[in-house]
């Protein structure tokens, strides 16, 4: 494998932990990843040495806090190849990033009858904000359907995009693992006059991403899925768009001047960062992307391709007739989230039995209910990989599943 996983595991203190006296096998990184010491230390160091509010004090440690916070913004910008650091708005998570776009750009630019195109594999975070606008002002949603092998069915994409104002789409499905080829889609959307929002919550942790190559207008990412802390994420948007958008929340930090009869807004990105931000979390986010860069995103990707192939094959060999996998079989077009149904055993029972062996997998609808309806399944079990997983973890999954089968066998 292209990553030295044995060495990487040592960077994650939680992996030393035992659950029910067994080695922790964490296979739920698509939901949230574990954190390396580098991230924990960066946050701890701030609190112990320089912590003060940002952008406010003139004293030394306030300046140090501000510098560290802004340096984190630059690291995140570099990680997704943003042209300008000021194009990164710190938010709480991807959900807030998408809502920010819906509230500010959406409420300025979308009116009754305007079309937003989504795909059937979106997370609720990239559905509900648009449904809210549909309820509030009658925008119309169109959905890109799926093919039989769980990819986007682009046969009618021209029609779907015709007259649309926005294409809002995930770069990688958190359920199917499917990777969507954003570049060509974005160019088709632009040709149709639509802007493009990319939900990169799953893509940013696992792929080398380039917002210019994607030709995107808005990109949402969330730190906790990419080795960073929870409570911080980023919205990237082209500067002209950010400049033209009205502010989101009102309060301190986002203003230039406030009088009794009005206010003027701060420059971007601070115009969108009302109130004291998640300072230590932003700094942890910066440390997380540095850690990923040091591993090398190309190696992160090839490690996951190998591990996903290994696991799909192992599941097939051991439990082939019992398991139905929802997601592409071609590892070149998918990430390391593997969703499946186990014949005769409900996803919650599977994950309960796996917990006995300290194997952590997710069971449920994965916040993608429209997709679950398309698939015709109420819930799946999902195992997902990251940089600290290896073949032994995949083997533990397969063994625990075989045990579950025995346990529930009639």
């Amino acid at each position: 494998m292209s990553l030295d996983v044995a060495k990487i595991k040592l960077d994650f203190p939680i992996l030393e932990r035992k659950v029910h006296d067994k080695r922790l096998v964490y296979l739920d990184s698509a939901s949230s990843s574990e954190k390396p010491t580098a991230v924990l230390d960066a946050m701890d160091h701030l609190y112990r040495t320089s912590y003060a509010n940002v952008h406010r004090g003139v004293y030394t440690i306030a300046d140090e806090s501000t510098q560290a916070y802004e340096a984190a913004r630059a690291k995140v910008a570099r990680f997704i190849k943003a042209r300008q650091t000021e194009e990164i708005v710190f938010v709480r998570n991807a959900t807030e990033a998408i809502n920010l776009v819906a509230y500010t750009w959406g409420r300025t630019n979308l009116h009754e009858g305007d079309v937003v195109v989504l795909s059937e594999m979106e997370h609720h975070a990239n559905i509900v904000p648009w449904l809210m606008l549909a309820e509030e002002r009658g925008i119309v949603l169109r959905w890109i359907p799926l093919t039989a092998d769980f990819r986007l069915d682009l046969t009618s994409i021209g029609e779907l995009l015709r007259g649309a104002k926005l294409l809002a789409i995930t770069a990688m499905s958190n359920v199917l693992g499917t990777i969507n080829d954003i570049g060509p889609l974005a160019r088709a959307a632009h040709a149709a006059g639509a802007l493009v929002l990319v939900d990169a919550s799953q893509a940013a942790p696992h792929l080398s991403i380039d917002v210019q190559d994607w030709d995107a207008d808005f990109v949402a990412i969330t730190a906790h899925k990419m080795l960073g802390p929870s409570g911080i994420g980023a919205l990237w948007a082209r500067r002209e768009l950010l400049e033209a958008m009205p502010p989101f929340l009102g309060g301190g930090e986002m203003i230039r001047d406030v009088r009794k009869d009005g206010f003027t807004t701060n420059d971007v990105p601070w115009k969108f960062e009302a109130g004291t931000p998640a300072i230590a979390e932003a700094i942890g986010f910066g440390a997380a992307v540095e850690y990923l860069e040091a591993l090398g995103m190309d190696d992160v990707r090839s490690h996951e391709v190998e591990l996903t192939r290994y696991t799909l094959d192992a599941l097939d060999d051991r439990l082939g007739e019992k398991i139905t996998i929802y997601g592409p079989r071609d590892v070149a077009v998918r990430g390391g989230a593997i969703s499946f149904l186990f014949e005769g055993i409900h996803a919650h029972d599977i994950s309960q039995v796996l917990d006995e062996d300290a194997v952590c997998v997710r069971a449920g609808h994965h916040c993608a209910k429209p997709l679950m309806r398309v698939l015709g399944v109420p819930a799946t079990t999902r195992a997902s990989f990251y940089v600290y997983n290896d073949q032994a973890d995949a083997d533990a999954l397969v063994e625990a599943l075989a045990k579950a089968e025995k346990f529930f066998a009639p």
Binding site: H20, I345, H346, A347, H348, D349, Q352, V353, E356, A363, G364, H365, K369, M372, P378, A379, F407, F408, P410
Partner: protein, 160 residues
């Protein structure tokens, strides 16, 4: 640590594999109520036929984990033929069964008041679900059917 055998007793797995009273009934005369667990997607559909003060027929549908579906099956068998008052007593007894452990953990009570709810109520197979309380995350799976029953009884008791 509680073992899987505490949770998945044989009788529970039996109800899961061969649910009793599965099916549908025409409405009316039956009353249909539905319960959802939005967090995990479990679903219970309940058809009740009440004549006078008696639950004369019950059918169940829905889908979900073994605990939610076994509990639904057991509930259907337990309330069929019971009076409305007896059915309500069963609901209280079952909920007491599910909360004794929790309230002891939280130090709220020694469980004596809950035990009182249980006294004199024959739970039968339902006792097998007691192991669920050792797995707090799963308690809501077991109670879904009973909340749906309560909702159904409330709806049929309202004079329309």
């Amino acid at each position: 640590m509680p073992g899987l055998e505490d949770l998945y007793r044989e009788i529970i797995l039996d109800h899961y594999r061969s649910p009793r009273n599965r099916g549908e009934l025409p409405t009316p005369p039956a009353h249909k109520s539905e319960g959802f667990n939005p967090l995990c997607g479990d679903e219970v559909v309940l058809y009740l036929v009440v004549e006078g003060d008696k639950v004369v027929d019950v059918k169940i549908g829905g889908q979900g984990c073994s605990i939610s579906q076994a509990s639904t099956s057991m509930m259907s068998a337990a309330v069929k033929g019971k009076t409305l008052a007896e059915a309500r007593q069963l609901i209280s007894a079952f909920k007491a069964l599910m909360s004794i452990h929790e309230s002891k953990l939280e130090g709220e009570s020694d469980g004596a008041d809950l035990q009182a709810e249980l006294d004199g109520v024959a739970l039968g197979d339902l006792e097998a679900l007691q192991g669920v309380v050792k797995f707090p995350v799963r308690i809501k799976c077991a109670t879904l059917a009973w909340n749906t029953l309560q909702q159904g009884l409330d709806e049929v008791s309202v004079p329309s």
